[in-house]
Symmetry: C2
Subunit: 153 residues, 2 copies
Amino acid sequence: MRSEEVLKSSISRFLYASPLTGMTMSEQWLDEIKWTDDGLVPAIAQDAETGEILMFAWMNRESLKLTAELGHAVYWSRSRGKLWHKGEESGHVQTVHDIRVDCDKDVVLIKIDQKGGIACHTGRRSCFFNQLDSGHWQSVAPVLKDPSEIYDK
Amino acid sequence: MRSEEVLKSSISRFLYASPLTGMTMSEQWLDEIKWTDDGLVPAIAQDAETGEILMFAWMNRESLKLTAELGHAVYWSRSRGKLWHKGEESGHVQTVHDIRVDCDKDVVLIKIDQKGGIACHTGRRSCFFNQLDSGHWQSVAPVLKDPSEIYDK
């Protein structure tokens, strides 16, 4: 029993280098996350400077680890079933300044700098542009760039 | 086929009064939400004034409807399997100023005023107090009130 714990601890303390922290890190912090049955955790991306919530996506263990290692946001695309380095198509990379987890350790918050100022695939700054107004969803933010210009390169 | 559409439309346009908007509202806006297979939607609560992200929880259709109707945050407690009027035990009610939904209409954002200044059950202002620092989660926010004082009334 004890040797199993030691083995588990040794595995979880596998070291890797992190540009975000400039230090080698154990994986204990990843073990502490309460992943869903599908191995995912919700992730909220917030503008590090203005506090604006820019988008919401999901991460698996590998994408959260890469986010910390690389210093840019990496999500898990549920629709495509693969890692999604934010900005890989659009160029709208998210530089990560701060990684948080909530009290229950089942939701991640990353504070980021949004390259190009556009986080949403619709060409808007934030994905949360639909406001409930008199019982209807109203778009309250402008399209800054036509999506066809963002993705058809 | 056409009469079915008319019927569906009539049902979805069932009217109710909303103190938040001061108008009667149809339920079309609720029909537009992309609920999970469990009938839920993730909800992010953000301080309406400072932009700080205070908590993350889930809503079902009834709780989101009540949130709009009553003007205070109502979540769905997955652990207790029932509606959760935030503050019902702690008194830490969340007054809702703005309800948003994202581009895919599968994540809700509410901008709120947090009564008592404490959103987290640990007695901290925000649930997102654990910061990744050198490969470890570090609490970076103070406990403002002992949870035993909040809940043992």
